[in-house]
Amino acid sequence: MNIETVSGSKGLLQKEELIFDIGTTETTGVDLPKPTGRKGRLGRLKRENGTGLPGLSEPEAVRHYVRLSQKNYAIDLGLFPLGSCTMKHNPRLNEKVARMPGFSDIHPMQPQHTVQGALEVIDELADWLKKLTGMPAVAMSPKAGAHGEWCGMAAIRAALIDRGEVETRTRVLVPESAHGTNPATAVQCGFKVQEIAASDDGRVDLNDLKAKLEGDTSDVAGIMLTNPNTCGLFERDIKEIADLIHEAGGYFYCDGANFNAIVGRVRPRDLGVDAMHINLHKTFSTPHGGGGPGAGPTVLSDRLAKYAPTPIMMVDKSDGERKLVLVDDEAEMAGTDHKPLGRMCAFHGQMGMFTRALTYMLSHGADGLKQVAEDAVLNANYIQSRLSKVMSPAFEGYCMHEALFSDEFLKDTENETVDIAKGLIDEGYHPMTVYFPLVVHGAMLIEPTETESKAELDRFCEALESVASKARSGDSSLKQAPYHAPMRRLDETQAARKPVLRWVAE
């Protein structure tokens, strides 16, 4: 029964207006000393018109954000099965460590001899990443997965410049199942994208790849391949693919978004990879924070190592003591192999994510990380096995860390994938990834991660089985779901057609 309330709140779910509705320009939640009123040095550029920004007192501000927070789903509330996003538990020790003043209260431009501990963190994390991937080098500055992709592709471009082939080698092969960032990155790096078809078993169609590498391959720059791929499957022909691309004179960029499925069990070097980004916010548990910040260190093979972007971590033993230095002046790299592709951002990467990821790695150790991969894959296969009775698995056989279903089981009904997703919200779960990868019709991609107990997996499967059965039976009530979320379905078409992107005073 829907009982309206005067306040607009419903029990614990409290209505909360915008700060622009409730704050005033005269209100402030901070106590600052009074300025002295001394003569300034801004001249005629002093801001005359106020900003109009509303303020709130501290209690009001805290309440505003806490009330809003309660309208969010989160890992800490339950299983968050977004495929390809790896929503695992975020250990709070990571947060505690990142907030140690020795890490949080140091400046990127203060003298390097005063930040040796911070440089050691970067160096130690780099060492872990190199050993876990078997690769000889890692670029630490990329600020997110897509930024890491950019780094890897720019390194390939730098190598082609060195070879005098950057004008001719412009073709990058990308499977049609790839994440959208792959083709977008290739183009941002000045390449042209050629799609490779997917095979019926959800992998790269080796015949199509061979056909595209037949004859003249002097225009091939490389391939961008996710492994395990976006269908949650290991590319079993990966060695052959790597060999084919290398024989064609190109490089192998591996999208490492799904490294969590193989960490500790397979090293990308052994698969022929030339460059791969690692999402610290996926595999290594740094929080997703509602859309960032991420971090995307990028490992590089011998062939690409020297093109890593500035700054470069070097060891200075000039005064007898081992000191770490971040070097961005190419003159100081004289006598080394380094030929940096340039600078990708100010300073030197997502330090706050480095401390968290290293804390996580040390907690798990090499043994624990292997167990992480195995449990993630076990959990996904358990879900695939249980749900295959009511839903349609996209492919036969075992999956890696995520289970993929198509909407085949809904074909005689009005219900669609989105209705399953919204129905799952009413059951108290965040939906799985929907309509991705594009190669599977009405795709539903479920990634439970290793941090779920069997009991939680069972509860989730029961909930999804129930929603899927309802959908399959043609239950039309799902079309209007969710009923129990803070809001009903939102009109995304209107939002795009008449964009209102900010509050404006009436």
Binding site: R44, F103, E120, M344, M351
Partner: protein, 462 residues
């Protein structure tokens, strides 16, 4: 590598982040019909399968041992709060109210994802909508996006955006722009065949920059306050750009300055980008930070990154969703405006929460305090024989020159306990700036800090 941690525990021990028990695993394998987890890895080429655990890495450790190890590394660093500290150049030491960190550590904000399912993500979406509005109001612009990685990448995205909007392939960067920003712009543009002209370092090069507004120029990029702290009137630069149908991209690295100086939107900027770290975010050795990007309404479909918009739900209630996704990589793939798929989520939440605590009144006061601290410092340093101020109109950062090489000067100050700023030669190579120091002061610098700086500098120079 020297580790405090010794390899002790074996691989069979329970690990605190892994809930499955050996019994669970056995039962689940049975349900699946697999013999062991090795079955799941059968597609891995045999030669690439690892036996056992990767060598030369430590085994798992308890929370206490890890905390000790990390704590020991943290203790080796000198924090910005340990004494007089005057480093700026793109990151600034400010006080962040305690409630900000509490808010961003709420589980529902910290441990959620990009708000793809708006019915259960209104918390994130409403804060993003508020953030976008705050950024637009601060910069005097019409719209803003949900944030970028940081100021430098926001600047490079702005350059690319200007090229798309004007269909031109040349960008010109002022000599007062932070070199890290200029280099980031260069790296991003070069791969797309865009010409980037970076003017020689200059305390003020408004006139030179204007000369570069030509028929094939996509945009002029000017930083104010610039890397030497100088505050520039952008109006003549905007006018010159617009006369040639080019755009003005304005950049800032110190967002607090917008509480005191005329916003770029009132001086004709078309795209405004900058670093938002100062509000809500710690120094954190360079990141994560929060890039701000605002623009004119007419450029909105060329904007990179996530954008949140207002709409209604099925019952007509106001709500928020991610929108304009037809610009983005997951829809447009190789034709997307950018490859970006995350923003700086939590850092933008810290920014918006701190800004809400400040409000117009608090921001204005904070900005004034910063400006006064820098003016006090400038007065104190200028009074010393042999010190010349290189920046006359500034906000909370300025440059000065002495007869002493800046590396030696700063090392001597360091020995006296004062972290006295950044030498210009660390940023600019071989440009006759060897004796120039860039120095910032904020509300965190006390009168005593300023006096200590002046005393130390006087001793070093005498």
């Amino acid at each position: 590598m020297k580790l405090l941690i010794k390899n002790s525990a074996g691989p069979k021990t329970t690990m605190r982040y892994l809930p499955l028990t050996p019994e669970d695993r056995a039962e689940m394998l049975k349900t699946i019909g697999a013999k062991s987890v090795d079955d799941f890895y059968e597609d891995v080429p045999k030669a690439a399968r690892l036996d056992g655990v990767i060598e030369d890495l430590p085994m798992h450790q308890g929370e206490l041992a890890v905390e000790w190890h990390m704590g020991a590394l943290a203790a080796k660093n000198r924090t910005a709060s340990e004494g007089p500290f005057f480093v700026g150049c793109g990151a600034y030491k400010h006080h962040v109210p305690a409630s900000v960190d509490h808010i961003i550590q709420r589980s529902e904000f910290l441990t959620t994802y990009t708000p793809y399912q708006p019915e259960i993500a209104q918390g994130t979406l409403q804060t993003v909508f508020e953030f976008q509005t705050q950024v637009a109001m601060l910069t005097g612009m019409e719209v803003a996006n949900a944030s970028m990685y940081d100021g430098s990448t926001a600047a490079s995205e702005a350059a690319l955006m200007a090229c798309r909007a004007t269909r031109r392939k040349k960008v010109v960067v002022s000599g007062g722009t932070h070199p890290h920003y200029a280099e980031t712009i260069q790296t991003a543009c070069e791969t797309q065949g865009i010409e980037v002209i970076v003017l020689p370092p200059a305390f003020d090069d408004e006139a030179a920059l204007i000369e570069y507004a030509q028929d094939d120029t996509a945009c002029l990029i000017a930083q104010s306050p610039n890397v030497f702290g100088a505050v520039t009137d952008l109006t003549p630069i905007a006018d010159a750009a617009h006369a040639k149908k080019a755009l003005l991209v304005s950049v800032f690295t110190e967002v607090v300055s917008l509480g005191a100086i005329t916003p770029p939107g009132e001086m004709g900027a078309d795209i405004v980008v900058g670093e938002g770290q100062s509000i809500g975010n710690p120094l954190g050795f360079g990141g994560p930070y929060v890039g701000l990007l605002a623009c004119r309404q007419k450029l909105v479909r060329q904007m990179p990154g996530r954008v949140c918009g207002q709409t209604v739900d099925a019952e007509g209630k106001r709500g928020f969703v991610l929108t304009l996704s037809t610009r983005e990589q997951h829809i447009r793939r190789d034709k997307a405006t950018s490859n970006i798929c995350t923003n700086a989520g939590l850092c933008s939440l810290a920014f918006t929460a701190h800004m809400t605590l400040l409000g117009d009144k608090g921001l204005s006061q904070l900005a004034t305090l910063n400006h006064e601290a820098a003016c006090d410092l400038a007065d104190a340093l200028e009074a010393i024989d042999g010190v010349t101020l290189k920046t006359d109109r500034f906000f909370n950062e300025f440059a000065y020159e002495t007869s002493m090489e800046a590396t030696a000067l700063l090392a001597a100050l360091d020995e006296k306990g004062v972290i006295g700023g950044v030498r210009a030669s660390r940023l600019f190579k071989g440009d006759g700036l060897e004796n120039v120091v860039i120095v910032a002061a904020t509300e965190c610098n006390t009168e005593a800090d300023i006096a200590a700086y002046a005393t130390a500098l006087k001793e070093v120079l005498s």
